[in-house]
Symmetry: C2
Subunit: 397 residues, 2 copies
């Protein structure tokens, strides 16, 4: 039993493989993450409509916060003065932050990219802000999440191979600068005497390259050459067909070292998780379970169920008869529909609890299937039951 120790208290160990799928243990200064793992998104330092004890209750082991949002409000320096993001948001478990890149690139006309970094205007008050590989690293060091990301450019889809190539090269140059800055912090040579709030922080390098296998291969090899603590697969689920996403994620994962965690950023639908765990991915984050909960969509073992419809008005069954979450144990579809129609905030809470439970329970079932060498059996059974098309009534209801 060993961990790839890249810094005190951070380490990763693959515990079992089944085909390309694997289970592992990701150790951080704030606790252990069993992989494959799903990270609920807490954009502004809170998972919307939940409290930290709700997150514990649904079995969350790690939360991902957004660097872009926290940088703008309340600001990374303010969070650092509060003792870091864990303490600020009352979450004592592992935390991850993204690099801010994805949100910045989504700003469209409000941002301009040059080779040194990105300038943009805050969506809150229009004030100009600049992010570079160095400053994105600094912000994440100040926030103090256990898992941080190198600053990358998210290649749009579609992109020509030339465009994707230029973008991938820029991400590589930024990866080098992000890594240098991070190692300077780790060595106590950055921040002008400012200490890291979380000394065992890990930094992920981000692989880009669009949907072009050759570019993905180069990006993976060169990024791995910079010896990050772990690796993320970026630039997917931006419009490409699912089959292309699966294939690209799979070949990128195959090009990453087996002894480091692999994080597929911003993915995905429940069936996406199953298909990319099958291809060797260890970590995920996505706003779907939380955002769709607020819009009245509940994920179930048979597919997404819209709770808004009049068909549920007198339905005394729980959303998912197979589910053991707080919501399904205590409330009917009729009540959840009433709360949604009446625009009650508690609707968002109960739906979010259910959706996160479904996501986290699906991860748990995958870990068990891998551990018992039966992942392929699980995968087939999952797809037989699950349909990704949202419905007002579940099949076989």
């Amino acid at each position: 039993m060993y961990y790839t120790a890249v810094a005190a208290a951070f380490g990763f160990r693959v515990t079992r493989t089944d085909g390309a799928a694997r289970t592992g243990t990701l150790r951080t200064a704030h606790g252990v993450i069993d992989t494959p793992a799903f990270m609920p998104v807490g954009t502004q330092g809170v998972v919307k409509a939940l409290t930290p004890r709700d997150l514990r209750d649904v079995g969350a082991q790690v939360v991902l916060a957004n660097t872009y949002h926290l940088l703008l409000r309340p600001g990374d320096a303010l969070v650092a003065r509060r003792g870091g993001l864990h303490r600020f948001m009352g979450w004592s478990g592992p935390l991850a932050t993204d690099s801010g890149g994805y949100q910045v690139f989504s700003l469209g006309a409000r941002r301009s990219i040059d080779d040194d970094g990105v300038s943009f205007r805050s969506h809150l008050d229009g004030r100009p802000v600049r992010l570079t590989p160095e400053s994105a690293t600094d912000v994440q060091v100040r926030l103090g999440a256990d898992l941080t990301m190198a600053f990358d450019e998210c290649t749009p889809y579609p992109a020509t191979e030339d465009e994707a190539h230029a973008s991938m090269e820029r991400t590589l140059r930024w990866a080098r600068r992000s890594r240098e800055r991070f190692l300077a912090w780790r060595a106590g040579r950055a921040g002008g005497g400012e200490a890291m709030t979380t000394p065992a922080q890990a930094q992920f390098g981000v692989v880009q390259g669009g949907v072009h296998p050759g570019l993905r291969e180069v990006s993976a090899r060169e990024t791995v050459g910079l010896d990050f603590d772990a690796y993320a697969i970026g630039g997917l689920s931006v419009g490409e067909p699912p089959a292309v996403m699966y294939e690209t994620a799979g070949l990128t994962a195959a090009g990453l070292p087996a002894d480091r965690p692999r994080y597929l950023m911003g993915i995905g639908m429940p069936d996406d998780l199953v298909e990319t765990v099958a291809r060797g991915v260890d970590l995920f984050d996505c706003v779907l379970p939380t955002r769709n909960a607020r819009n009245g969509q509940l994920f179930t073992s048979r597919g997404p169920l819209s709770i808004k419809g009049a068909v549920h008005a007198e339905d005394d069954r729980p959303p998912d008869p197979d589910c053991r979450c707080y919501t399904c144990r205590n409330f009917s579809r009729a009540y959840l529909r009433h709360l949604h129609v009446a625009r009650e905030m508690t609707a968002a809470t109960l739906n979010t609890l259910h959706n996160l439970h479904f996501y986290l329970d699906t991860m748990r079932r995958m870990r068990e299937a891998i551990a018992s060498g039966a992942f392929e059996v699980f995968r087939q059974a999952f797809h037989r039951a699950y349909s990704r098309r949202p419905r007002h009534e579940l099949p076989d209801d």
Copy 2:
């Protein structure tokens, strides 16, 4: 040890008196309520931003839902078909409902009152609805709360003595009809064979009479003559000065039988609770702790604190250093301000948990003070510490 048994499983026992203040035990089919008690308001069948387990956690023993809102959506018949409001909303403890009168009278131009009842248009879709003493009773029987209210007219303030007298007389006529209808249900002679979902339901008669002592006296005597299971004091906190409210509540309470619960409807501020417990009130409900929480106002032992202000941006202290609620044990003013400014729903949840804890803990402290014969000491200490003026910083912070 005895209970005034007015129906199977319903009963009230005064356990201790201290001046006019008293502690008691109110027994219902869904559990016991220790009085003096505060009932959080769950307007649409949910206490906004909370789940039933949150309510248990803050120590709520009973919740009040609004007949007017539930009648319009999802409808009393639908709730009855779900097995009643307890089951529908997942709250297994005691429930109360108001008569719908107060909300209907608040509709202003959208309602017209005649001696038989009130016609109004739904604020949701404009459809015409009619409430009478009989139908308001039927709706509450179908919802199935443990504590229900006779249909009354809330006398406006100011009102001449003649106006208040006419209104009080109408409430008395409606009280008689409400009681007759309720007893018909209890005897199995109403509802066309429909069974009561909560057989031990109690019905409160409502005393009106504005701020006119003579009218209050008549109203109390005549209402008590109808032999309700318990009594409510209505028509207060509608604009009259606090001192007048206290005096009117006190003399009305004194005119009610000592062996029945006394409920002061829609009251109030924390100091109002202390002053009217001192005058013999047992039960309260009010939207203040929950509504003000959503607006960023936190009640503390020193008064209401506005969490919005920039003064809290870097304040690592809990909202109320004397408080042991989940919010105060885990989150700083800085974080709560961030959540409020960022319009996160979790702000409403955490603020509501705190405010309800403060209200319910104040009730608990009053019960303890009465039980030890030290209510006057508590009352003086409470007023020394508490200022009802909302502030951005607490005194002696």
